[in-house]
Structures are given as structure tokens and as C-alpha cells.
């Protein structure tokens, strides 16, 4: 799909389709599931995704068009080998179950439960942390990362934070203006034309960039960004397992 913005992609849920769609009644869907299990499941499968003996009902245009049985009731009477004597109320319950499956599929880009990322080797992760990864140059298991394994409810969030950390201190910038004036401070904003900063005493300064203006940015996350081209997935899973063990 095309994203509104890269960062919003992961949280989008399926919202296409007609606005006048059937609203799923949870109680009816539960009843419908029971009826479905009794009469339909053998051919159409436990999740209505079809089997060798019956088509996928989530991908069925008839099911998608249906509103409260207006398509399904006549179809069950028309199609050979189907349960023609279900009451209309029973078929409506089935439609709620099927619509529930459709809605779940349309939102299938969101995990029902966090993925298990604790597949690595903690000892190998410790070795990487202290060795090839160079993590110990800035971090310590008994220092800033003490108890890191307790800080995240789900290890997948720990994995994301390890790979894409938030800055614990802002980037800094040193600007030397054309007249030789040198100013340092926290970087506020930079583009090709301007750079702005806040000095240690809280003063906001903005400079127009040019050939005679020297700008040096120090991003504390730069090393983390470089490592994205270095990590193997096994390194990542080992380090996550190690970090998770720091309780």
C-alpha cells in the first residue's frame, strides 16, 4: 500500500470498503460460529478460508456483498449440497460470524499478540555487546542498562528500541560565523539554508548558512545508525536476548 507517511504505516488498520457495511453483532457472531461449526466447517474450514471441498468465504464476493443474509439466504437454497432449511435468523447469525472474519482479515496487518523475539543466545549477545558490537564503549550492563530487561513489557519493544534508540541527549552543533564568532549549543533545526540552536544559557540563535559559515553537528545516535548496516539478524536476536536477561 501507499503510506500516508512512513511512520504511520504500521498502525493503519483496514478501513476501506463501503461505509454502509454490516455492523458485526458480537453475540450474533458467537451464535453464528456455532451454526457454522455444525454445518459449514467441513467444507469451508475452521476460519472460513476454504478447503479442497469448498471455497474461501472471506474472499467470496457474495459474502462481501451480503447484508444480513440478503444474498446468503437465497444462495443456500440455490446451491446444491447446502443446508437449505436453516432459518433466516440462523443465516443472519452466520453472516455476522463471516463478517467478523472479513473484518479481522482486513486488519491483519496488526498483530494479535507480540511476536516472540527471544530466539537468540544471551551469552553470544553478551559477547557481541562487549566485543564486535562496540556497545560497551558507551553502555554498561551494570550502569545505564541495569534492569533494562524489566523496563519493557514486551521484548519486541526492547528489540525496536535497541535498534532505533531515542536520544538520551540532544544533538549538538558548533557554528562558526563568517566573522569568526563561534557558538555551540543544542541543535534545534538544520537544513541546507539555516541552522538554529539553543545555547547553554537557553538563548535561541539562528544562522544563515553559507560558504563562510562552518557548521559541525554531533549526533549522539550516529554510531547506532552506522550499525544498522553492520548487524546481522542473529546479532540482533542475541543482543536482545542478552538485554532481556538484565533484570
Amino acid at each position: 500500500m501507499f503510506c500516508l507517511a512512513a511512520l504511520t504505516c504500521s498502525v493503519l488498520v483496514g478501513q476501506a470498503g463501503p461505509s454502509e457495511r454490516q455492523t458485526v453483532d458480537a453475540a450474533a457472531a458467537r451464535r453464528g460460529r456455532q451454526i457454522y461449526t455444525q454445518y459449514c466447517i467441513n467444507c469451508h474450514g475452521a476460519l472460513a478460508k476454504g478447503t479442497a471441498d469448498g471455497p474461501d468465504l472471506i474472499r467470496s464476493a457474495l459474502v462481501l456483498r451480503d447484508r444480513l443474509g440478503n444474498e446468503l439466504v437465497p444462495a443456500l437454497k440455490r446451491l446444491p449440497g447446502h443446508k437449505a432449511d436453516l432459518s433466516s435468523a440462523q443465516v443472519v447469525d452466520i453472516t455476522h460470524f463471516l463478517k467478523e472474519q472479513v473484518e479481522a482479515t482486513a486488519k491483519d496487518r496488526n498483530a494479535d499478540e507480540p511476536p516472540n523475539v527471544l530466539t537468540g543466545n544471551a551469552e553470544a549477545g553478551r559477547a557481541y555487546f562487549n566485543g564486535a558490537g562496540g556497545c560497551a564503549r558507551c553502555h554498561a550492563a551494570t550502569g545505564d542498562l541495569a534492569g533494562i530487561g524489566r523496563r519493557f513489557k514486551d521484548a519486541v519493544d526492547l528489540q525496536q528500541r535497541f535498534l532505533f534508540p531515542r536520544a538520551t541527549k540532544p544533538a549538538t552543533v558548533a557554528v562558526t560565523a563568517a566573522d569568526g564568532t563561534a557558538v555551540k549549543g543544542q541543535l534545534v533545526r538544520i537544513d541546507d539554508f539555516n541552522v538554529s540552536l539553543r545555547t547553554a544559557v537557553g538563548e535561541y540563535r539562528e544562522f544563515v548558512r553559507g560558504a563562510n559559515v562552518n557548521v559541525e553537528v554531533d549526533d549522539p545516535l550516529a554510531r547506532h545508525h552506522e550499525l544498522l548496516d553492520v548487524y546481522t539478524d542473529q546479532d540482533i536476536h542475541n543482543v536482545v536476548r542478552y538485554l532481556e536477561s538484565l533484570k
Binding site: C3, C9, R59, L64, R189, D192, L228
Partner: protein, 518 residues
């Protein structure tokens, strides 16, 4: 009224002063021969007007109804701009930015992610609506002439693409990837709107290409949406467009194979819808890397031979140059560094690394789902011979949620992380990046298209809400204007009464810059 046919009749026609199609002409180069705005005059370029699109407060049905954002490229014909957002079209005076008329469509649903623009033919304007309609309007007053259904809202299709008119065919594309539905492209009669042909993004059952799917069921529900307008070569009588991701999007284990014709560059006869050739930038995609980026047409030399060429900077980070008469691949190269391919096959198509497909415990992949580039248009400058892409290096972790035999929908997703943005200038002869201008700051992906001109200028948006003109031969920034938001479409240019204009959108506003040479 001057006929549109004249301005449309050739790609990059010398003397063209309008911007009558999505890409300005049929070639997709987004290059203008206008040169009043040039490296010598650029610092006199001034804001002439701002037009703010106001769709009104009446709520529309369907998802994604957020604040109005102009993601479409306006067209400019005879001094009038035609600009769209989902469900809305406006005519705006191209000299003054004043509204002439506003047309509002009453929606029945669909995903309101964006509208890429309108097409014009004689005195009729065409645009697509999220609830699956092609609407034809009278260009003079915005009155509706007719509308035709182009997709089934019930199956969760929707429509966002800018139509393109080729001869008297209105070529439409479709969108949607919540459910497992096939993508297609249609031709409608420009006068009546009647359907002329539909080409599905899957092979005919029983053909060799159909063997790229494990089953008929998987193939018929295999996706391949047509998100971006076509380009057209009149001499070859072929239209060119890309197809989107296969379905299910992330969990690919139920559709093993290369999954033709998803993730393909496609050449079709516009009169019959008959396939001429295909090339697949992302075989068996599992990262949502729609290969729909504009197939850009230009003529050049490769290996000392003159060629009719087609180039695409694809969302997966790879740049391809093809012979557009035959589909023969001439160049395959990364335009940003990626980590997902093992190399290229005999056809020049990247070979996906199975280890970098989505995993239960996550795989670190670059580019991310947003891609090394997305829908915003690239540009090709015949003066420099360089192909420009407003690109990103972005990383995310791809997770597989559904590892069953028959996942549906998505079955996984990525979680985004760090990204950096840069403008890449690519030598089409080799695919090598001639120069790269990294946009300062951590701006992530840039959603700005590009424009190059005979004024030796390359216009772009940066991640910091600047509209920037650069030297196309070096990437040096020459001029900028700070807007209230980052660019949300591709810049266009046109000339009226001897003045050259450049128009861009940021959020709900069009900014018109003018160079009035006395």
C-alpha cells in the same frame, strides 16, 4: 478553445507552455523546456499567490478522512489549474490562484488516502473517487457529465489514481490491499465512459506465467494494484505502468513463486489492453514494495546504440533501464544501498534473500515499507542525462504474524525505525549515482516529486518544509522558499502572458511562484 490534442501529441513537445497531464506530457520525465526561470534569474522568483483548498465541513463516508492534503499533481490548461483531493475537484485561475469552481462528490466509502490528480480531454475533466467512480466534469463550470463505476467497493477496492487520456481512451487504475483482490487497469471511452477493456495483473490460467503461482486460487486473489498513472509512447502505441504488491502482503508462504504480474513494469496496447511485455522489479515481494513508480520514457544511447528507453527508480531501492520496445533489461543497479537481494537473475531482476523476508522474530530490512522512493514522481533531465529520485535510506524490522499455510490480508507488518533522505542523481547508462545530496536533519522519507527544466534547475521538496531549486549537474542548492508544511506533491511549471510559473502543494495549499520578465 485551443485543443488539448495539440499539446498532448508529443512527449516533451518543443514550445509547450501548459501542463496538461499528470506528468506534464506522456513521457513521465517531468522536464520542462521553459527557461525564463533559470540559474541567472532564480533569485528573482517570487511568490505570486497561495490557494487554500477548502472542501467544506460536511463529513464524508469512508476511512482516512483527515485534514485535506493535496497529493495530486494539478494540471494546467489554457490558464486554468485543475486540482483534486479525495471526493473534490477545483478549477483555479493559474495566474491569480483564485477559485473558479468547486465540485464535491458524495462518497459512499473507500479509503481516502489521497488523490493523485485529474486528466483532461477536449472540454472534459476526469478524476477518480475513493468509492470507485470515474467522474467526468465539464471543464468550464465543473458540472458533472457522467460517472462510471470502476471497481467494487464491497471487495474493499478504492480509487486514488490520476487517469490518463490516450487517444480517446481514459485509462484508470485501482487501489486497495486490505483483502486479497486482484489489481487491474481499465480503458473507458472518453465520451461515454463505457468500459472498453480491463487488463488484470495476473496471467491467463494455463499460461507459463501462471506457473509463478502455486494455485489458481492464490493467483486470482494475488493483488497487484495500479496506483500510479501510465506513461505513453505514441510511436510504439504502448502505455507503461507498474503493478503493486502481491497479496497477502507480508506473509508470502501461501503464494510461493514470483507472482506475475504483480510488482511488474507492464507495456500494453492502449486500444486493446493486450500485453506487449513485462519486467518484474520485485519477484515474490513480501515487503509491500509496489513497483508502480513512474516508468520514465526517453531516448538515449546504451553501449553506443541509440535506444528507446524506459527507466524506473523502484520502491525496493533498485534502478532499472529497459528497452521500451521490447522490455529487454539494459541496466539493474541499486540507487540506494539495500540489504534484501542476493543479486540479479538472468533477466536482471533482483533475487530476494529468503533470510530478509519477514520473520517471526523479525528481520532488519532496508528499505522499509515506505520504500527507497514512493509514489512522488522522479524526473529525467535530457540536458544532463541524469535521472533524479528523491530517495530515502530507511530501516525497519519486518515481522511475520501468520505462519500458517493460508495467510490472508497481510499476515505481518514492519515496524519502522531510522531513516534519512537524499536526492539521488543517477547516470542512466550505468545506474551509478553521479551525485547524492543528503538532506540535512533526520527527515525520513520525503514525499515530494521532482521537476527539471531547461533553465538548468531541479526543483524538489526537502524534509524541512522547503521548496528548493538545485543545480541539476551538481546537486548544489541554489534557491529556496520555506513553506508552512513539507511538499505533498510534485512541482509543475507553465507559462502565461510571458510569465513562467512554478506551482507546488504543501498540505491543503497550492503555492504559485512567478517569474515576470519585462
Amino acid at each position: 478553445m485551443r485543443t488539448l490534442l495539440f499539446t498532448l501529441c508529443a512527449a516533451g513537445l518543443f514550445g509547450q507552455t501548459d501542463w496538461p497531464t499528470y506528468n506534464g506530457d506522456y513521457s513521465g520525465r517531468r522536464y520542462s523546456a521553459l527557461d525564463k526561470i533559470n540559474q541567472s534569474t532564480i533569485n528573482s522568483l517570487a511568490l505570486a499567490w497561495v490557494y487554500r483548498a477548502n472542501p467544506g465541513r460536511e463529513p464524508q463516508a469512508g476511512g482516512g478522512n483527515n485534514a485535506p492534503v493535496i497529493k495530486g499533481t494539478p494540471i494546467e490548461v489554457n490558464g486554468v489549474l485543475y486540482v483534486t483531493i479525495p471526493d473534490h475537484a477545483w478549477a483555479v485561475d493559474a495566474r491569480s490562484g483564485r477559485e473558479i469552481w468547486h465540485y464535491a462528490w458524495k462518497s459512499k466509502g473507500g479509503w481516502h488516502i489521497g488523490n493523485r490528480g485529474a486528466a483532461a480531454w477536449h472540454d472534459t475533466l476526469y478524476f477518480e473517487t475513493p468509492d470507485c467512480n470515474l467522474v467526468a466534469l465539464n471543464m468550464a463550470d465543473g458540472k458533472e457529465r457522467w460517472h462510471k463505476s470502476i471497481c467494487d467497493l464491497e471487495q474493499f477496492y478504492y480509487a486514488s489514481v490520476a487517469p490518463i487520456v490516450v487517444k480517446d481512451h481514459v485509462i484508470t487504475g485501482v487501489s486497495g490491499d486490505d483483502l486479497d483482490i486482484p489489481g487491474y487497469i481499465e480503458s473507458h471511452n472518453a465520451r461515454t465512459g463505457d468500459l472498453e477493456w480491463r487488463w488484470y495483473a495476473h496471467p491467463e490460467p494455463g499460461t507459463p506465467e501462471a506457473k509463478t503461482w502455486p494455485s489458481l486460487e492464490a493467483m486470482m486473489h494475488g493483488g497487484g494494484m495500479t496506483w500510479v498513472p501510465s506513461t505513453y509512447d505514441a510511436s510504439l502505441n504502448l502505455i507503461y505502468f507498474g503493478t503493486g504488491n502481491p497479496q497477502p502482503v507480508i506473509a508470502g508462504q501461501g503464494r510461493m513463486g514470483s507472482n506475475l504480474y504483480t510488482e511488474c513494469i507492464i507495456a500494453l496496447n492502449p486500444d486493446s489492453g493486450k500485453l506487449a511485455w513485462y519486467f518484474q522489479p520485485s519477484p515474490h515481494d513480501t515487503h509491500d514494495w509496489d513497483a508502480v513508480q513512474t516508468p520514465v520514457l526517453f531516448d538515449g544511447e546504451i553501449g553506443g546504440k541509440p535506444r528507446k528507453l524506459l527507466a524506473q527508480a523502484s520502491r525496493n531501492g533498485w534502478f532499472f533501464v529497459l528497452d521500451r520496445a521490447t522490455g529487454e533489461r539494459l541496466v539493474s543497479s541499486e540507487f540506494v544501498k539495500t540489504n534484501w537481494a542476493l543479486g540479479v537473475d538472468a533477466k536482471g531482476q533482483p533475487i530476494p534473500n529468503p533470510a530478509k523476508q519477514p520473520q517471526k522474530d523479525g528481520a532488519l530490512v532496508t528499505p522499509n515499507q515506505g520504500g527507497a522512493i514512493n509514489w512522488p514522481s522522479p524526473s529525467f533531465d535530457p540536458d544532463t542525462g541524469l535521472f533524479y529520485a528523491n530517495a530515502a535510506r530507511a530501516w525497519s524490522v519486518y515481522y511475520l504474524y501468520d505462519d500458517g499455510d493460508k495467510p490472508e490480508g497481510w499476515g505481518g507488518n514492519d515496524r519502522s525505525g531510522y531513516s534519512e533522505a537524499m536526492l539521488q542523481a543517477i547516470d542512466y547508462h550505468t545506474g551509478q549515482v553521479r551525485w547524492s545530496h543528503k538532506w540535512p536533519g533526520n527527515g525520513g522519507g520525503v514525499r515530494s516529486g521532482l521537476l527539471s527544466t531547461a533553465g538548468k534547475l531541479l526543483f524538489a521538496g526537502d524534509p524541512n518544509s522547503n521548496f528548493v531549486a538545485l543545480d541539476p549537474s551538481s546537486g548544489a542548492p541554489l534557491w529556496h522558499a520555506g513553506l508552512h508544511a513539507s511538499l505533498t506533491n510534485g512541482p509543475i511549471t507553465y507559462e502565461l502572458d510571458g510569465a513562467q510559473y512554478v506551482v507546488v502543494a504543501a498540505g491543503d495549499s497550492l503555492y504559485g511562484f512567478a517569474m515576470r520578465v519585462k
